[in-house]
């Protein structure tokens, strides 16, 4: 039985595979912050042209080279990056907008050989967009490597060429195809691209190692490189939920034990592969996987949440005007305006060059459309659980239906025990929201302050992304856990009021829904501080609640 690859050996193997068959494995997802270590790895990558997330269509597909055109006086076209089948390197891939990801995905599907994505995601919720993560074969995370573990990386051109020459002749053992597919399935990887990529990687690796038929080790290592990071270990949420709606892919431990032991003559039992993958999983994989998941739900949830800090509006027709003072020139529109006059002006000026007059200048205009995000902070403490948590869930569901009708984003925070927890980052997917809500357990203390704090942070983030947040607080108001986690009722009270004041200062619209059995004066007080509508949840009258919410949101 062989050992799994050491982290550094994994890097070396992955790079070799990429060098031997870039078009087969389609690329590499390299998760690391910029560092000397990363530089060491990227230096050994095949030569690639760099692109950045903000790249525009003209640079990708080619277009009119405006600067050259103006200087030369005749039209000069630039060639797009995607025109040549050369490898591309996408820097800051975690910020890649959906549009760019989709275009690169299309390019990979049709003509592009491979893409190397440098993912510098710092937060767990940053990661490669799912469209790309699904297509790139290899994954490397350098975060658990230290400089001292590593050594210089270089490949002999001759070696690579020899391996490439061998590639066509490499065969896989008969069972390999089936084993890899089964393993991917057992790991709960829905995409069929994954086993396909693993097969390509196995072939390339065998060619690299000079094997005619891929050995078991080679298959194991290929599975490690391609499949390990795609596994669906924490099925839906990082926190184990009491009831899991989707058919959970068996966690790996079970898969190994429950599956009937394969007969010995089987050359490559799947659980051996699984074993290898499990061994390859770094300790903090949970966080990383959660990152992938979060990226899937947050990145793609419509246009609003996808782009951070750069919420472009819908372009309006350009307007005649002078650039400056924050107005940007729309060069193309300016040229378009000037174009029809050129023959006339040339005749007049006598010079054979582009004549642009001030009257031709056009400026860009955007219509900012701000998406709304409704942040639910739900009290799931013991006191409220026994009282009316179920009713509160019903109320939230009603509100969700409304949010759906208005195309709002929703986010869900639950607070119980010692702290608050972000159950769902802002998303438009109601089905997910509902699923998470249904699985929300109750019990423990009431860390009202922590819940408010998280709602406040989330609202700030949403605002930074150009969305308009509204906080809906559902609680029974008996806050008894202070911000620092101590059970101190007085301190808890003070903390929550302080955060409430901060919310008010930020001008965040809010709504307080009292789910206690009897209306709580303390909550009414808090609503006053928040300058928010206060609403004791009427018994079995969720409709009234949604009516009030509608009024509160001006909807």
């Amino acid at each position: 039985m062989s050992q799994p690859l050491s982290p550094w050996a994994r890097v070396q193997t992955a790079l070799a595979v990429l060098a031997v068959d870039p078009a087969g494995v389609k690329g590499l997802w390299l998760r690391a912050r910029a560092s000397d270590l990363r530089a060491r790895v990227t230096a050994a990558l095949p030569p690639a042209r760099r692109l950045h997330p903000g790249i525009d269509d003209a640079s990708l597909f080619g277009g009119v080279d405006l600067a050259a055109t103006l200087a030369a006086g005749h039209l000069i076209r630039s060639k797009g990056l995607l025109a040549d089948p050369t490898p591309l390197l996408l820097t800051m891939a975690e910020r890649s907008p959906a549009g760019l990801s989709a275009r690169l995905a299309l390019w990979l599907d049709t003509q592009g050989p491979c893409l190397i994505a440098l993912d510098e995601g710092a937060d767990p919720d940053e990661g490669l967009p799912a469209a790309l993560a699904d297509r790139l074969g290899l994954f490397l995370d350098l975060s658990d490597l230290a400089w001292s573990d590593t050594e210089g990386l270089s490949f002999e051109a001759g070696e690579i060429a020899a391996a490439r020459a061998r590639l066509a002749a490499v065969r896989l053992p008969d069972k390999a195809l089936e084993s890899l597919t089964k393993v991917a399935f057992a790991m709960g990887i829905p995409s069929l691209r994954a086993p396909r990529l693993a097969i390509c990687a196995a072939r390339a690796l065998a060619a690299w190692r000079g094997e005619d038929i891929a050995s078991d080790d080679t298959l194991r290592h290929a599975a490690e490189l391609v499949l390990a990071h795609r596994g669906d270990l924490p099925a839906e949420a990082p926190e184990a939920e009491p009831e899991q709606a989707p058919p959970p892919p068996p966690p790996e431990g079970e898969a190994g034990e429950d599956s009937p032991p394969e007969p010995q003559e089987d050359r490559l039992p799947e659980d051996v592969l699984l074993e290898a993958i499990r061994a390859a999983l770094p300790a903090d994989l949970l966080a990383q996987l959660a990152a992938g998941k979060a990226a899937r739900s947050a990145k793609g949830s419509g246009t609003g949440a996808a782009r951070k800090g750069n919420h472009r509006g819908r372009p309006l027709p350009p307007l005649a005007g002078t650039p400056g003072a924050g107005k940007r020139i729309d060069l193309v529109a300016t040229l378009r305006a000037a174009a029809p006059w050129q023959p006339l002006r040339r005749r007049e000026a006598g010079a054979a060059r582009l004549e642009i007059r001030k009257s031709d200048l056009r400026i860009k205009r955007y219509q900012q459309s701000s998406d709304r995000v409704l942040i639910f902070a739900v009290d799931a403490s013991g006191s409220s659980a026994f009282a009316r948590l179920a009713e509160a869930k019903g109320a939230v569901e009603l509100l969700l239906a409304q949010a759906y009708a208005r195309r709002d984003h929703v986010a869900l925070i639950a607070f119980r025990g010692q702290s608050a927890e972000l159950i769902l980052p802002p998303t438009r997917s109601l089905v997910q929201t509902k699923r998470r809500l249904a699985g929300l357990p109750g019990g423990g203390g009431t860390p009202l302050a922590a819940g408010l704090r998280m709602a406040f942070d989330l609202a700030q983030q949403a605002r930074a992304r150009g969305m308009t947040p509204t906080v809906a607080l559902l609680t029974d108001g008996r806050g008894n856990i202070a911000l620092d986690g101590r059970a101190d009722r007085a301190q808890a009270e003070a903390d929550s009021l302080q955060i409430a004041r901060a919310l008010r200062l930020q001008g965040l619209p809010a709504l307080v829904i009292d789910i206690a059995n009897r209306p709580q004066p303390a909550l009414r007080q808090m609503a006053l501080v928040l300058d928010a509508p206060y609403l004791p949840l009427p018994r079995a009258d969720a409709q009234r609640l949604s009516g009030v919410l509608q009024a509160a949101l001006g909807g």
Partner: protein
């Protein structure tokens, strides 16, 4: 990749393949929406479809693939006479495509070099008489969606910008795909798709292994693989052509019309587009099966894909509307 994966070699995903074949028989059905997991062969199927479709006759050099020389729009230039066979266009509309690229705009090259005001056709022109494929359609920016809605409705692209006033035909079958977890599709656009199918990753190992086997064979020896499947593909192409020819002579009994109406009433689908599409799809299905008369069984075959996306949506219904359609179908048309 010069040769796309053969259409008949796609394992499973019958609903998706069937929907695509139906639109190939009758483009008037109005598009297919494919929603589902990643890596289930959505893009593969669309690209395979492009290779499968029979060729069309079009005027050579015409930007909108006109049938007859006299239909070539004036802005496309004169002197285009020659008719050629060309593959049915399947045009990709990438996310984030600018309005200019979609509807067309002033030809800046000619404007700059010759000072002429000329129209440079966009994707909609190229997709005329063919297919327009939008991957991740649910992430498409709203203003592009509005444009598409308008054109898909009228079958004509009207450009009024930069002093241009151009209109040209833009009749195409819209094929959209996406992953519902990443965002919903606006109901207005949803309604424009004639058929909608849900694809899932195959749940049993055998099917998955078979997918891998075929894909591997295709990658290893494309020529041999294509040869192996060519017969099936051309049989399917012939069946499509035969069905197209049979479509005109198809009888539609009154009872089928009644069935259509009562089914849509029972489902409470908005508007009459549901009935119309249901009937069209059922006719295409009948023609495909080689029957001379549309019957209730054809209706049942296509009901789920034509109606499931037209129901007033209960946003919190997880089971999906496909199940609802199936239930009511069983109740209404025993």
């Amino acid at each position: 990749m010069s040769q796309p994966f053969p259409f008949s070699a796609i394992v499973g995903q019958e609903a998706m393949k069937q929907a695509m074949v139906l639109t190939a028989i009758d483009p008037g059905i109005g598009g297919v929406l494919v929603f589902g997991d990643r890596g289930t062969g959505k893009s593969t199927a669309v690209r395979a479809l492009a290779a499968l479709l029979p060729e069309i006759t079009a005027v050579e050099g015409c930007p909108v693939n006109s049938v007859r020389p006299e239909d070539v729009p004036a802005w496309a230039g004169t002197g285009l006479r020659k008719l050629v066979q060309r593959p049915t266009p399947v045009i990709d509309l990438p996310l984030g495509a600018t309005e200019d690229r979609v509807v067309g705009a002033l030809d800046i090259e000619r404007a700059l070099t010759r000072g002429e005001k000329a129209f440079e056709p966009g994707l909609l022109a190229r997709a005329n008489r063919g297919y327009l494929y939008i991957d991740e359609v649910n992430l498409l920016e709203d203003h592009i969606v509005d444009l598409l809605l308008d054109v898909a409705q009228s079958g004509e692209n009207v450009v009024e910008r930069e002093g241009l006033s151009i209109r040209h035909p833009a009749r195409f079958v819209l094929v959209g795909s996406g992953n519902p977890e990443e965002g919903e599709l606006r109901p207005q656009l949803l309604d424009r798709f004639g058929l909608s199918v849900e694809v899932r990753s195959p749940r049993d190992v055998e099917t998955r292994v078979e997918v891998m086997r075929r894909r591997d064979a295709y990658e290893n020896d494309t020529a041999a693989f294509m040869k192996k499947w060519r017969a099936k593909d051309s049989a399917l192409r012939k069946a499509i052509l035969a069905a197209r020819a049979a479509l005109g002579g198809l009888k539609t009994p009154n009872t089928v019309l009644h069935d259509c109406a009562s089914l849509c009433i029972a489902l409470g689908s908005d508007g009459l587009r549901g009935e119309l599409t249901l009937l069209r799809a059922a006719r295409a299905q009948a023609a495909y099966e080689g029957d001379a008369t549309v019957s209730r069984s054809h209706l049942k075959t296509v009901a789920t894909s034509t109606l499931s996306h037209r129901l007033r949506r209960d946003p919190l219904d997880e089971a999906g509307s496909g199940a609802r359609v199936a239930r009511i179908l069983a109740e209404t048309l025993p």
